[in-house]
């Protein structure tokens, strides 16, 4: 294949084009709203790169998104669409929060305990959907979405329990114990100026590498990918496809659950009563799509989304709605989704090859 064709066939090329189109469409919409897009984008840019502190905040925002992105990417690789990362994220956060409030332990025990609890909660949340799919043939997309809402109301229920709820008003839980926080050393916080600088981003990179390794270099990953690509051929080759789906869905759920714990233990420190779904799980779908389900690319896609989320929050300073960011992200996903169309156009049906 010539160099030109290898560029035209690569996912990264179309992702880049989709991002550019996303910004162009965003600019058009801003113009309709009588806001100078150059001013808004300059504000967005400065909001992200203006100070080291801003960039640190982007990484803080990115960490949980990388986890939900990994969760969804992992599910894509194994032939499942984990649209339930949202609920798994919530139960992960909730479990870590309960452990963080109720249990007293030194940090060296307390932190792993929170993570294990969150991973188990997310994993079980995903596995229930898996069991329903395998044993009863329930469509997983349906039950994932229902379990998102179950997680949502469960969280609001637990938040309002007396032992958990913040004393003296406020629609949130108590703060978790300091021994359950994963904040960066004081010197780092001082240097970056970001009060919530934490280990989340480092853990996200670590987990991206672990997930990449499991998918590509282990027999487990081989099995899961085989089932994901061709259920029938995998079954024929003697792979237990039901067990594979269950494993994949539980593992995917655990990743989202850990993402929830990272968000809580690194950034928020408590859970508010939700008015609506927070969207970390759904944003994970965007991250996974931008990353073409590549775990390593999820790091960069997560940073991109985190930066857009953080920088977008400052658009109000120039009277531009921060929702512009959501629109841009939506357009990007739309164009990534239809990129195979462009690929065929550009390559003049060449992809089908000679028969």
């Amino acid at each position: 294949m010539s160099k030109k064709n290898s560029i035209l066939s690569s996912n990264a090329f179309y992702t880049l084009i989709s991002i550019i189109i996303g910004f162009i469409v965003g600019a058009l919409l801003l113009s309709f709203a009588k806001i100078n897009p150059m001013v808004a984008y300059k504000q967005l840019f400065n909001g992200i790169f203006g100070k080291p502190k801003f960039m640190a905040w982007c990484l803080i925002y990115a960490a949980p998104l990388i986890f939900t992105g990994l969760s969804v990417a992992f599910s894509f690789k194994t032939g499942v669409f984990n649209i339930g990362a949202e609920g798994q994220f919530v139960v992960g956060t909730l479990t870590a929060c309960v452990i963080g409030i109720l249990i007293k332990a030194p940090a060296i025990i307390h932190i792993p305990l929170c993570f294990i609890g969150a991973a188990l909660a997310g994993g079980i949340w995903g596995a229930i959907v898996g069991i329903l799919k395998i044993k009863k043939g329930v469509n997983e997309v349906l039950s994932y979405i229902m379990f998102n809402w179950i997680a949502f109301y469960l969280s609001n229920f637990v938040v309002n329990l007396t032992v958990i709820h913040k004393e003296g008003g406020g629609e949130a839980t108590k703060d978790i114990a300091d021994t359950a926080r994963i904040l960066a050393p004081k010197a780092v916080i001082a240097a970056t100026g970001a009060s919530a600088a934490n280990w989340g981003f480092i853990l996200a990179i670590l987990f991206a590498i672990i997930v990449w390794f499991i998918i590509n270099r282990t027999t487990l990953g081989f099995k899961l990918r085989a089932v994901g690509f061709s259920n029938s051929a995998a079954e024929y080759a003697g792979i237990d496809t039901g067990k594979s789906f269950l494993t994949a869905m539980a593992f995917s759920g655990a990743l989202a659950g850990i993402g929830g714990a990272i968000h809580l233990m690194g950034m928020s420190g408590r859970i508010p009563q939700f008015a609506g779904q927070e969207g970390y799980g759904f944003q994970g779908i965007t991250v996974a799509l931008i990353a073409s389900s590549n775990p390593i690319a999820c790091i960069f896609a997560g940073i991109f989304y985190g930066a857009m989320k953080y920088g977008g929050g400052k658009l109000s300073l120039v009277n531009a709605p921060s929702e512009v960011v959501d629109i841009i992200m939506g357009i990007i996903i739309l164009f990534i989704a239809i990129s195979s169309l462009f690929r065929n156009l550009f390559m003049n049906h060449g992809k089908k090859g000679a028969v």
Binding site: Y236, A237, G238
Partner: protein, 505 residues
Amino acid sequence: MDIAVKMQDIVKKFGDFVANDGINLTVRKGEVHAILGENGAGKSTLMNILYGLYHPTSGKIFIDGKETTIGTPQKAIDLGIGMVHQHFMLIPPFSVTENIVLGMEDTKGVVLDLKKSREKIVELSKRYGLSVDPDAKIEDISVGMQQRVEIIKVLYRGANTLILDEPTASLTPQEIVELMDIIKSLTKDGKSVILITHKLKEIKTCADSCTIIRHGKYIDTVDVKVTSESELAAMMVGRDVSFSVEKEKREPGEVVLEVKDLCAKDYRKVDILKSLSISVRRGEIVGIAGVDGNGQSELVEILTGLKKADSGSVSILGKNAFNVTPRQSFDMGITSIPEDRQKHGLVLDFSVAENLILQNFEKEPFSKSGILNDKNIEAHANKLIEKFDIRPKDSAKKAAKTLSGGNQQKVIIAREVTNDSDLLIAVNPTRGLDVGAIEFVHKYLVEQRNKNKAVLLVSFELDEIMNLSDRIEVIFDGQITGEVMGEYADEKELGLLMAGGKKDE
């Protein structure tokens, strides 16, 4: 006779690769025109150009004497060109009727009028003797019936020129005869049929002229009546080809597979296997001859663990193998070359190297403590690519879907033969392959037999069964209805048995 289709100096390039290099094709009205060439020779590319799926890089196309650019399949259909693809373009969860009318549905207002469409389909199917169940879902019917659905789909669209890409690959001898009759009645109507095939015998029996393509280049167009099969074969591959299979005589040894009184139901809960018994011994190839749909697929599915039987017994080397899982079946010594190589044989998105270890990835040297050893996996792949002549030579890391059909089959055979199990089951192992590749597959089946393995061959190709088998078992209506020793096999007798007739004692 008038000219229906004329393609002149067609060139098609994919990047640097030239798939068609100056090909000429002239199809007259009312004739059967065969296109002959090995896999990858460029036949399908040429037909895809005629059907509007590809745009030629250069060259001219004339339909009914008028120069035209086709561009889209819709335009091709409007011009009266219909195509039946080798790999079916059907939607599995839809019914036969829904698949046929897709894109040109009859409607009452905005509501689908499937009843009216169904009537038309039943009429077509009766007229041409293409038996289909218009209400069955595609995913539930046999490969043979799917093919018939595809043919009806084209007829339903009123094509004047029919392109049939390997149309007989999955049909039984009887069905092939019927298809030949259909083709004859079509040509009598003044319609033209373009037949893409590797089967020289079919070209001889039903084609009027034949265009030969080799490595994308136009070789010649010949009058079939005055050209022999071996001349055609030589033009196609560029060398002389041997048709017969060399096979030394052997005494079969101990019984490897013993199936007794096996009963099972098909997807409709209808009895499909009715107390079937069969055995295969070491050092013999047992061929199962029969018309598609008489229980052969179900028998193989039960042996390989994809389907459960209701009663009976199955044993491998004396050990109970009744209703095993696919894994257990493999571990007990059964390997198979599946009927549908793209669905069951390969994970198409996996690389060739990954496909070659599909059953063995958890064993050393391919992995250790759950970690894959890429170096060993690739070395293994390169060894098999060399030994089994899988092309292209650097395909170890390429996705299996990028390989031609013949080479995909070589990957499966390389894997299953290397597994070195006691029983090898091969189901239509040469479906859609060209003469060279068929020679290759047959060679390896015989080699397994000569290595004192048991081979069970299920095939709709009577020639293949007769050429390879030491013993032929005829299956009809879920039972073995006759046994013939390979050397005494006679096509007529087998045909009679396959149709449910009794053997003269």
